[in-house]
């Protein structure tokens, strides 16, 4: 909401400086977003008079001017404007001045051999308008040397405030003035509106058939108006706040909209067929609005229509067909109250915003229909002449004057600030509240404050005027002793995993929670698709972290990254809920070409397997009990992927190489290794603070190596577990150290070499004991189909 300082002073009698006003606005909750004085930009441009104009000897279109700038001797200026003539009062720019419209800093220069010391400016050169047919020709005889901005009435700072949605009253300058007056920055001027008696009955009917959407429709006709351009003061006001002056009648409605927060509409009576009625739109109706677009209407929308067609999307935008024009002589002024909720719904449905909607949607003052109509009539008569009819008042505006019970001590209770009850009453009165004091105060809010709905609102009114600065900084009560830990086990797991992954060399990325539908489909399908995504590529809530990570890997690869190790810790959005997950992607070179190790190596399934096991171990998962199950979701390479779990149903992670088809779809190359850790499935540790007793065994462990031959289909893990199971108490570790197939091994078979570590407890193993254990190991291996290699 923009306004100028002088506009504010129409309503506020104040001696306060601009700075005080700006500070005051922010203090009461009207955040100042900017202050701009056009005069500052125009400061170097001053009124000057052309004393003489002589033809240029070298150029037909140029003249040599003698200009009185008000500073010393007249100066010589070469000028090409056709309207330059002796006696003209214009705007002069001295050498050294930057002229914004042509982006040139003036210098003393010779133009076709004649020295020119400055410039007479056009409106376009000063960025005031597009006019460039000649230099500015000021009316009257303004004092030479006066700043041009002053002559133009532009020396008026424009203040831009952010009005919060609850403060409809501050969508008009008067409401802002009232707040400042309450703050003590001046006195609110009476602002009374005189009633104007009409000389004849309104010649057309004004009705409301939609008392819910339009509870009140006031109006009157004015005959014999002359709709020319509005006077300079009005044009300046509107221009200053960024509105384009159109015609006196339109400018009047715009002015009142910003002056009082009161939207109005003016119809050209000649273009109406009969009177006007507020009603719901009918199925299939549409209206060509003033913005040049046609809107299809629905029966949910309130409109203003005559006997023939819809002329106005009520409270949002007028229609093109019945708008006033220069030739308009008879008008109908509409001043109505529209239901804020319906305005909001209609505006959203049509995707149409306007200054009127912004106000009606927040709820205009229902007690200012009469005032708005009379004020408009007054201005029409003053600026356009004409004869007004008597008013028509169809319907009743709602009675909005919220009543609130309040105890003055509540202010202290909610804010910690003590404000004397007398002062509280004074503040409330200044804001227009009616206060009945007593044990409990009975407070009636003014009609323009429909936002007031409880005692807490009264507290806010009191404190925002008395000053938020006075809120005393008060320490929160603190529990005794050292602060207690607050993190949950799940939060601790998350933090540990994150730092473990980073410590292992992975970089943490944060990618969008929503992904492209085709990517969601490739990774199991999304359960939630947005109705209004910001783009088609960000439409489906991700069922997996991998598409986002793989896409990030691709972007990095495109930028030339040789090695990409990324992880993300975030949610997957599944039918069953949002599940915290850690995703990993490895792409590019695991190891670049190296002087020690030779050729570059890529990533494969075993890199992510190692990563997954390490991270799960860091997170406290019982990885020694975890099993690897071959195969994973369809987006993995079917032969090079697996699930890891405490059982087939208790899956902790999925890992492997990305399906080659997806590697291609994502424009990547080589093997891309990916994994997801479903760490919310990690069982909670059954932790006791005290550890069970343990002393390292006194006797040294012994090792024995075995080589088995088995079908290639036998999973290594199955064999290792079988070996372990042969003598679980004595076998401390089982490790596969060689894998071989080929010469000497039957086709389809492979050799697996295993080192078993045996831990004696009280006394060393005898050779016989070791033989017995070895026998059990061989027997156990045989049960899974592995034979000792001879």
């Amino acid at each position: 909401m923009k306004f100028t300082l002088s506009w504010l002073k129409d309503h506020l009698d104040t001696a306060a400086s601009l700075d005080e006003i700006v500070l005051g606005l922010t203090r009461v909750g009207l955040e100042v977003e900017g202050v701009d004085n056009p005069a500052d930009r125009l400061a170097p441009f001053r009124v000057a008079k052309i004393l003489e104009a002589a033809p240029h000897p070298q150029a037909d279109k140029l003249q040599i001017l003698k200009v009185d700038t008000g500073a010393g001797e007249p100066v010589q200026v070469v000028c090409g404007a056709p309207n330059a003539r002796a006696g003209l009062y214009g705007v002069f720019a001295a050498p050294g001045t930057h002229v914004p419209g042509i982006d040139v800093t003036l210098k003393v220069a010779a133009i076709r051999g004649v020295e020119s010391r400055g410039m007479m400016c056009s409106e376009r050169e000063l960025e005031l308008s597009d006019a460039h047919t000649g230099i500015i020709d000021l009316p009257g005889q303004p004092a030479v040397g006066t700043p041009f901005a002053e002559v133009l009435g532009l020396d008026d700072p424009v203040i831009d405030v952010a009005v919060t949605p609850n403060r409809q009253d501050c969508m008009g300058v008067r409401g802002i003035a009232r707040d400042l007056a309450a703050l003590g920055l001046g006195t609110l001027k009476p602002g009374t509106v005189e009633a104007i008696e009409g000389g004849f009955d309104c010649p057309v009917e004004i009705l409301t058939d939609d008392t819910e959407g339009c509870p009140a429709f006031f109006g009157r006709v004015v005959r014999g108006v002359k709709n020319g351009v509005s006077p300079a003061w009005l044009q300046q006001r509107l221009t200053a706040i960024g509105l384009r002056p159109i015609s006196a009648l339109v400018d009047i409605t715009n002015f009142i909209n910003f002056d009082r927060g009161r939207p109005l509409h003016v119809y050209d009576l000649a273009k109406l067929e009969g009177g006007l009625v507020a009603r719901r739109a009918r199925e299939g109706e549409s209206v060509a609005a003033l913005n040049g677009k046609t809107y299809a209407l629905t029966p949910e929308m309130t409109v203003i229509a005559d006997a023939r067609e819809v002329h106005d999307i009520a409270g949002i935008m007028g229609g093109e067909h019945s708008g006033v024009e220069t030739e308009t002589t008879d008008i109908l002024i509409e001043c109505a109250y529209f239901d804020p909720q319906r305005i909001g719904r209609t505006g959203r449905a049509l995707g149409l915003t306007s200054d009127a909607r912004t106000r009606f949607e927040r709820g205009v003052d229902p007690a200012f229909l009469e005032g708005g109509l009379q004020l408009a009539t007054r201005m029409v008569l003053d600026l356009c002449g004409g004869a007004p009819s008597r008013e028509v008042r169809a319907g009743q505006p709602p009675e909005v004057a919220p009543k609130v019970d309040y105890t003055p001590s509540l202010t202290q209770r909610l804010t910690g600030v003590t404000v004397d009850p007398g002062k509280q009453a004074e503040i409330l009165a200044a804001l227009g509240f009616a206060v009945e004091t007593g044990d409990t105060w009975r407070i009636t809010a003014p009609s323009w404050r429909r936002d007031i709905d409880g005692a807490a609102d009264i507290v806010e009114e009191v404190v925002r005027i008395s000053g938020f600065d006075a809120i005393p900084s008060t320490p929160l009560p603190r529990a005794e002793g050292v602060a207690k830990p607050t993190a949950t086990p799940a939060q601790l797991t998350e933090r540990t995993l994150r730092r473990a992954a980073a410590a292992r060399g992975l970089d943490e990325a944060v990618t969008w929670s929503f992904i492209a539908p085709k990517d969601a489909d490739s990774f199991g399908g999304g359960a939630f698709t947005l109705e209004n995504p910001i783009s088609a590529d960000l439409a489906v809530m991700r069922p997996s972290l991998l598409p986002g990570l793989v896409a990030a890997a691709r972007r990095n690869s495109d930028r030339g990254a040789a090695t990409i190790r990324l992880f993300e810790l975030g949610r997957r959005y599944l039918e069953t809920g949002e599940r915290l997950t850690l995703g990993v992607v490895f792409a590019g070179a695991r190891q670049e070409k190296d002087w020690r190790d030779g050729a570059a190596k890529g990533f494969d399934v075993f890199d992510v397997k190692a990563e997954v096991l390490a991270l799960l171990a860091a997170a406290g998962a019982p990885v020694d009990r975890a099993q690897t199950f071959a195969g994973a979701s369809p987006w993995y390479h079917p032969g090079r992927s697996a699930r890891l779990g405490l059982g087939p149903k208790a899956i902790l992670a999925e890992f492997g190489e990305l399906h080659p088809r997806l590697v291609r779809d994502f424009d990547l190359s080589g093997r891309v290794a990916v994994a997801e850790i479903f760490f919310d499935a990690i069982p909670a540790p059954r932790g006791k603070r005290t550890r069970p007793f343990y002393a390292p065994p006194a006797l040294q462990a012994v090792t024995r190596d075995f080589a088995f031959v088995a079908d290639k289909a036998l999973a290594a893990d199955t064999l290792l577990r079988a070996v372990q199971k042969a003598e679980p108490k004595r076998i401390a570790a089982v490790r596969l150290f060689d894998l071989f197939e080929g010469a000497g091994i039957e086709p389809g078979m492979r050799s697996l070499a295993i080192r078993v570590t045996l831990q004696p407890d009280e006394r060393s193993f005898t050779e016989e004991e070791i033989s017995v254990i070895a026998g059990k190991i061989v027997a156990s291996a045989r049960t899974v189909g592995a034979e000792l290699r001879e």
């Binding site: 909001g344 804010t415 809120i471 980073a502 970089d507 990324l566």
Partner: protein, 313 residues
């Protein structure tokens, strides 16, 4: 040989033997040394050859800042709460005193899920703020309550300073005699700890949020020296927080008695806090996963924020 002679010659021979033995030892040591030295001559490498670079990853600034926030607020007795990102309109709006027709609903640029998914008349959406966690906490826990709720939030908005997904921090305190003075102290204490400054000036401006009353926007006093932000002083103001006393209607909507329980809530943008503290300028880069950016702006996994070690990595 007479015993005295035997003793004499014994000493003599023993001396000769010792001399020989010493000589042999010396010779042996010398020749070993010679041999090692000879080997070393052939066993010299160029020690300036490069080794495998240390492979240390990074923690994303948003995560780091969330850990910092958790650490600071833990000292003030706040736990970390979470809630769903796919929310319903009751928790995201209605319970927060934003009825259906409220202009604030339209202002939130909400991402919606199709009407068909609605359950019990509640429409699903992506939460537009972390405030629904207030509701969920008040409905599931008995006061006194002190929580912060960091997390992802979503608005249909995208330009240089807005991304459709970003991170917010919510704070909530519900107790018997909590007032705006406590809010002011809490935020001052937080800002001092977060930006690691001894003195901070906060400016509370009256504002409007449907779920707080009174409401305040909070600016922090700062200055810009050579383009670098310095927290402190009153040369310039930076808007960093929205806050206020929890609206009685919100407390009542959660099944608590507003005559008994009152308190404050606040919200801040985590990405923005990170940018102000660590100097990033482009929000969009946060979500791009550019390894070069992550290496530069990310944090060492060992830079765990702690009260003793500091919360500024």
């Amino acid at each position: 040989m007479p015993p005295e002679d035997r003793k004499h010659w014994g000493t003599v021979f023993n001396g000769i033997k010792q001399t020989f033995l010493r000589g042999y030892e010396e010779w042996r040591a010398f020749s070993e040394e010679f041999e090692i030295n000879a080997q070393l001559m052939d066993d010299t490498v160029d020690v300036t050859l490069p080794v495998d670079p240390a492979r240390l990853g990074t923690v994303h600034p948003v995560s780091q800042v969330m850990d910092e926030l958790a650490e600071i607020f833990a000292d003030l007795g706040f736990a970390v709460a979470t809630g769903p990102e796919i929310e319903d309109d009751w928790h995201n709006f209605t319970a927060l005193n934003i009825p259906e027709s409220h202009p604030a609903r339209a202002m939130h640029d909400t991402f919606y899920f199709p009407e068909a998914l609605a359950k019990e008349g509640r429409r699903f959406l992506l939460r537009t703020h972390t405030s629904p966690v207030q509701i969920r906490t008040m409905m599931s826990e008995q006061p006194p309550i002190r929580i912060i709720a960091p997390g992802r939030v979503y608005r249909s908005d995208s330009d240089a300073t807005h991304t459709p997904m970003f991170h917010q921090l919510e704070g909530l305190v519900i107790d018997r005699n909590i007032h705006m003075g406590h809010l002011k102290w809490t935020l001052e204490t937080f800002i001092k700890a977060f930006f690691e400054v001894d003195d901070v000036t906060l400016r509370f401006r009256p504002s409007y949020f449907p779920f707080t009353e009174p409401s305040a926007e909070v600016d922090v006093g700062c200055s810009w020296e050579g383009g670098t932000l310095k927290i402190g002083g009153e040369a310039s103001w930076l808007e960093i927080l929205g806050s206020g006393m929890v609206h009685p209607r919100v407390i009542a909507a959660c099944g608590l008695d507003p005559a008994e329980w009152q308190g404050f809530a606040f919200g801040a943008g985590i990405d923005r806090l990170a940018m102000l503290k660590y100097g990033m300028t482009d929000l969009r880069a946060f979500f791009d996963g550019d390894v070069r950016w992550l290496k530069h702006y990310g944090f060492s996994p060992f830079a765990v924020p702690t009260l003793s070690g500091g919360v500024g990595a």
